[in-house]
Subunit: 248 residues, 2 copies
């Protein structure tokens, strides 16, 4: 937790919040804050700032805050993700949201086990919990939109073409035929602006699905001859869209 | 397991191997191979190829192999990693090795809990097991060198300067002061050739350590205003050194 996020329901006054849940426990037990200490805070969906601890009890905390800074800019990437198994789903969502993705489609695929759609992680409450934890890690306030598409074909046929039209649209494919490991990196081959990135399940989208996504406007993209896990390819691919690195 | 890796100790003949451990179980139960089926194989430290199943029992398998292809080229990155907690260590090593890193220094830092150095994961046997599993994922045969440096200062003073001299040398730092999120990506700001990348513990190297690493020749590098977890920053940073992506 690198920032304490709050909602309107936490407000005691327009510039004061009262917390008595796991955020209070974190402030009391992990940060070990004392009255007068300053903490980084943010309003969910709003600005970042600082808050001063004004009251501490055994299980609750009051803070007086001042919001001064905008949330960091979104990563200009829409993610289209075949539903992975629950443990991987949680990690992948955390990575994507921590890295600044604000729109995530989770879709079906032939290689997705049907039972995965029953995971409690896909309830709005759990998705919000995962999202907030990732924003607390990232120091961000803007929740992502997470959209479930449990039927692949109507999604790929009716919705993906419009999504792909607005962006550079890439299909990351582990067994891509286009692998050419000796080609040097060039700026023209690096996606640079806003993008749609589709990532298949372990084993990849099946050929029929690949063809549908290509017909919808996605171009296959390979990150070399090695086969990466979904939880590795997501930060690797998203990292290509961070608008730097900056060297000091 | 995207490839079956074998050693000289598995050889029955110069072109035949016999397996009776978890590789045999994987072939029998997961792949459900039958006599005559062809599997992707590789010799640890050597070439990749195909093998034909010639014998199957309840718990053992014999394969006749032919090695034809070189292992994929190494990722031209040396990783210098402050020891994370064991669970994260395993994930981070898996990511780095799957992505093709062949030299990894694991060093101490002020924010590393001393107890982490006692984890059984740091024994040569466990490190080899983690490495082989990552190579089996990646379809690679070349084991990485993993070097433990439990004392930060002598390592940073006596060894890092020589390591940094051979490469572009970067210190990835979560609270880097150089954050400038509106700077557009440029090729000159992207590391392009072989590199040394240092990644601190959760919370980052302390200022004294940062100064020592800068004195050793490392330049601070930030991937934007968001604070990423170590297991996210590793694939994100390594992805910058994959010599493509290739678009088909």
């Amino acid at each position: 937790m690198n920032i304490i996020l709050f909602n309107n329901s936490d407000l005691l006054n327009p510039d004061q919040i009262g917390l008595d849940d796991q955020r209070a426990r974190h402030i009391i037990r992990v940060i070990k804050a004392k009255i007068g200490d300053k903490l980084r805070v943010g309003r969910v969906g709003g600005q970042l700032g600082k808050a001063r601890v004004t009251e501490i009890s055994a299980s609750s905390v009051e803070l007086e805050f001042k919001l001064t800074d905008a949330a960091p800019p979104a990563l200009p990437v829409t993610l289209l993700l075949a539903l992975p198994r629950p443990k991987v789903l949680k990690r992948v969502l955390s990575s994507a949201i921590t890295m600044g993705v604000k729109k995530i489609f989770i879709c079906n695929s032939w290689r997705v086990e049907k039972g995965y759609w029953q995971t409690p992680l896909l309830t709005p409450e759990k998705l919000r919990e995962i999202s907030l934890a990732a924003l607390e890690q990232a120091v961000d306030t803007i929740l992502p939109e997470i959209i479930l598409k449990p039927r692949f074909r109507p999604f790929a046929e009716d919705e993906v073409p419009a999504l792909a039209q607005d962006h550079d649209a890439w299909l990351l494919h582990p067994y891509s035929v286009s692998v050419s490991p000796t080609t040097p990196a060039t700026t023209t081959s690096r996606p640079t602006d806003s993008a749609l990135i589709a990532i298949g399940p372990e084993g990849g989208f099946i050929p029929f699905e690949v063809e549908m996504l290509r017909a919808a406007g996605l171009r296959p993209l390979s990150f070399g001859p090695r086969i990466l896990r979904v939880e590795q390819i997501v930060p690797c691919a998203l990292g290509q869209f961070i608008r730097k690195p900056v060297i000091s």
